[in-house]
Symmetry: D2
Amino acid sequence: MTRLTGIALLGAGRMGQVHAAAMAAAGARLVAVYDPVTRVADALASRTGAAVAPSAAAAIHHAGVDAVVIATSSDTHVELVIEAVNAGKPVLCEKPLASSLAATRRCIAAIGDQAARQVFLGFNRRFDRGHAGLREAVHAGDIGRLEQLTITSRDPLPPPLEYVPRSGGLFRDMMIHDFDMARGILRQELVSVTAHGSSIVDPEIGKLGDIDTASVTLLAEDGAIVTILNSRRCAFGFDQRIEAFGADGMVVSDNPRQSGLTRYRPGYPGTPAPILEFFMERYGESYAAEIRLFLDCAREGRDMPVNAYDGLMAAYLAEAATLSLKLGKTIHLTGPDQEFDHV
Amino acid sequence: MTRLTGIALLGAGRMGQVHAAAMAAAGARLVAVYDPVTRVADALASRTGAAVAPSAAAAIHHAGVDAVVIATSSDTHVELVIEAVNAGKPVLCEKPLASSLAATRRCIAAIGDQAARQVFLGFNRRFDRGHAGLREAVHAGDIGRLEQLTITSRDPLPPPLEYVPRSGGLFRDMMIHDFDMARGILRQELVSVTAHGSSIVDPEIGKLGDIDTASVTLLAEDGAIVTILNSRRCAFGFDQRIEAFGADGMVVSDNPRQSGLTRYRPGYPGTPAPILEFFMERYGESYAAEIRLFLDCAREGRDMPVNAYDGLMAAYLAEAATLSLKLGKTIHLTGPDQEFDHV
Amino acid sequence: MTRLTGIALLGAGRMGQVHAAAMAAAGARLVAVYDPVTRVADALASRTGAAVAPSAAAAIHHAGVDAVVIATSSDTHVELVIEAVNAGKPVLCEKPLASSLAATRRCIAAIGDQAARQVFLGFNRRFDRGHAGLREAVHAGDIGRLEQLTITSRDPLPPPLEYVPRSGGLFRDMMIHDFDMARGILRQELVSVTAHGSSIVDPEIGKLGDIDTASVTLLAEDGAIVTILNSRRCAFGFDQRIEAFGADGMVVSDNPRQSGLTRYRPGYPGTPAPILEFFMERYGESYAAEIRLFLDCAREGRDMPVNAYDGLMAAYLAEAATLSLKLGKTIHLTGPDQEFDHV
Amino acid sequence: MTRLTGIALLGAGRMGQVHAAAMAAAGARLVAVYDPVTRVADALASRTGAAVAPSAAAAIHHAGVDAVVIATSSDTHVELVIEAVNAGKPVLCEKPLASSLAATRRCIAAIGDQAARQVFLGFNRRFDRGHAGLREAVHAGDIGRLEQLTITSRDPLPPPLEYVPRSGGLFRDMMIHDFDMARGILRQELVSVTAHGSSIVDPEIGKLGDIDTASVTLLAEDGAIVTILNSRRCAFGFDQRIEAFGADGMVVSDNPRQSGLTRYRPGYPGTPAPILEFFMERYGESYAAEIRLFLDCAREGRDMPVNAYDGLMAAYLAEAATLSLKLGKTIHLTGPDQEFDHV
């Protein structure tokens, strides 16, 4: 069987352009592009030689399209995933799969279990070289049984205030990546979620009902403890680290540096180069790895390693954390298909 | 007023010997030593030229004794502190001040508020060079407002199983250091404690009713979030780190290395020297700094920077964490003089 | 004036393919490719959509070709540079410009002084992010007056033995990069060269009249001392470091790591990820930066920042080092246009 | 045989006080102290409980003196070493053994070969934890055959100008430590010395006929190449590093840090704690290790691991480097007992 390479891209905004660059780097070919704002689609098409499609459906069914990448606004994801699945095309959808936990459940029900496992969900951070190396080291048993997992994730700057009300809140909008990361490393059921949060970076965020500083503790079935620390602002860059501690050792994925340059000055005796600034610098490479893996799995008909069910579970954990913070209680997890006991 | 230097040491066991070495390094002089096991006192006296006293009281009142260091078994601390206070001698007492929160309250009541502030309590880790540097940096405003404080504290090996039942449990026996460290850095009231724990290092510890792996979240009055991670076993040494994250930056006290030696071999390309093995290697220096500070404060009649009230507060937090784990609930803090609401 | 982007590539072997990939990453377009081995040119053309030219001259004059990149075998460089210069096309030539110092002089004489300054010579390591950052820091005065410059350059493995006799020797084949690096950082005249060398990596290399381990000391006009260390074999990867020490501080360009992953195991307490393996991993990025700079300078008609005169000077230093080793003497430098005194 | 512990200290100035502190830390006892300036001897005696001796000879023969430590001015070393040797007491002499190469030869002739091997010469840097670890790793074969050894040694500040004329010059006064370090690591004959030097830190040093910036290349019998870099001034502290590169890997002794504290601020993203300031901070510990080793060897009647012959060889290398710089030539080494060919 030959390699799949012809891709339809739905959405040519910032994330769409990221995916377009990743395709080029991964050796895939952008065949058709659709964006509700024609000018945006045109611009990308002219740079890449892709055709501009008049509709998402037209892009999906365009000649030479082997696979579909969805990077439109979040509220259109479910509809487009269903369209692509019905067209029999492998699909990679930007996260989130749907705008709520209930909508995610409904999307999975609509496409069915098997298709759900074959929708690649864009948790690209799994494919960061350092984070992936950590996960592989844990799975290979390099640190023995995993006992404590600590994920630190801090953005350089808070989002614009006007975005806050429609973000769904920090747990759904930001920590969702870390919930997925924890699940990918742990590979076992989680039994409880306890959330703490504050609005100390910017009190305006608090007035809008959200938090900007958070800590969540997850307890795994076997007793392993996961700690996730988030902040919406970090003075020294994009702080993205994971520490996995186990019976036989520890493995840490630290912030890579912009270069190997180190400065020695009085008072600054050995200052390394800055860490990477934001997600494109830090995770840019991971998008290309994601596309490669997506196309490989699609070609072989395998389940996607990160699929709609992972989207469901991450949404479920975000929901539970939101509830925990609201109630000031630990939430015991009974599965994404059931209502929460505590409400 | 001349510098105080003549010291009576009560207890010549392991901790007593640590203090004796620290005195020598600090330029203080061991004048009298008492230990219920005469052979142990004799051994230390013969190495240092100190007199062996027939009783604790005799040591306290021995000629040339300016100050008293208590390193006897925990259950004798209250009685000896009272004896030394009554003798008008400045006293440094190994932690814990008393064997329970209630006993700590009673001890403070017995000696009175002013004396309580002049009993130096041996939370020596505060004087570790890296940890002290972090605290000073935070207090100096180097990182702006403190938002997230993360303390990792892992012992190389669990204590002997027979010690577990009389240890008071991980929170009172081990995390007590970290509670004190958090308070020293934060300098503000804490409003809640949430504890999680597992027994995954050694199930036998679980059978004895204790845990060996723990995570505690403390919420400060202003919204800062403290996370403390403990493990009773660490494969690569004595893991003792603090990370203080604030509005303007971050400061980290990492594990120092045994030397500046780094090895490059295929597969191990740049392996630094090991971290320090256990508390004597890591915190040995801090005991000498502690003694120096104790004698300086005593000479000037100042309140001790770490005193009986700090012992009370650390005991209170340990009590709250123990209760939080037992109940599976967040404990809201109302002060060490009141009973917990949730019991 | 519009940006130049259409490129003719002469030579489609390993280095040609490196340049082709760099062009794509830099946003330039490969228009025509020539290689004496047609199969090799065909393969690259089919991957990139470029036309295959029947001769180097045909490629240079192909429609849409704005600039020429030469990556053929070293003995053809002079002829092709002259051809491209005569065609009025900006040219980037892989190092070395010519096979000997005398041939380099003749090439420059043939094209004339002005053209010589507009031939970009492919000392790509200058554009490595860390090395370039070090150079800029030194030029910006960050370390004050430069006093000691130390360049360490070690290959993972020696070249095949059959390559050794036609390599020109370690100084001309390998250290030539470091001579150029030193000149780019120093920006002043060098007054002497003293070389030491051994054949201890592989005695067979010694039997062929070459060395595999070398140290060269260069003295600059103002007294700054440059030390270059080379080895043909390095057990832990491609060791490429620079240390610039000055009156006010030091700046070091260290080996970057494959990722931010660090492992803690008993005996390996904090082992970072491996360094990059060889030149494509370490310097891959620098080729794209080189192409971008070449096209920018060409468009603006500026002298190339690394040009035929830099090739001449590096060849001159390599010649002097070779002579110094042979004679066991320091060689005093009088300029690349004069014969060496000591022969 | 019991452990030797009673020590006579000749010279109670700065170095004498360093040795006195080292004795205490090593568990040895200062019995008698002599200094031509009585006040200085008195001060040290009153702090330590030692007796003040009216002369060096009286100190050497004082009751309870098992061993002699010489820390008087350099011009008295020979005479005092002979006195101590004649008294049959083991002796540790501060470097240099004598004020010139010829005087060193005469001293060894005077005491004889066997005694010369039992005079411990105070090259204390050999006992620095990092440097000693490097030496042991090399000797244990951890890096395979040693091929390149690079020693960097930079003082924080130049000595007072008035000291320069009587210092003997940088090679004899400062690099002598590095010559000894190189010999201790290499354990084989050196065949040539090539020196380069400049006066760019302070031109006044140049006017006094000395240099402040130097590079020396030593060639070992088996082809290993040693590079020593010295500077009289370092803006960021006391820069003391060694890099040993071999067939199977590399081991580096880097500057230890004052603590494990690291600061992250915009522009200074991960600045470690300062390196140690000068020799007492960096090498303080090594003096205690030196005394311990001296007493152990003396008790067992073993040859000292660093003895008068090591002093002779270091002086010989310093002499050769001085001559190399003067003549601008490589000096071929024929042994410390012969005149140099090139003069």
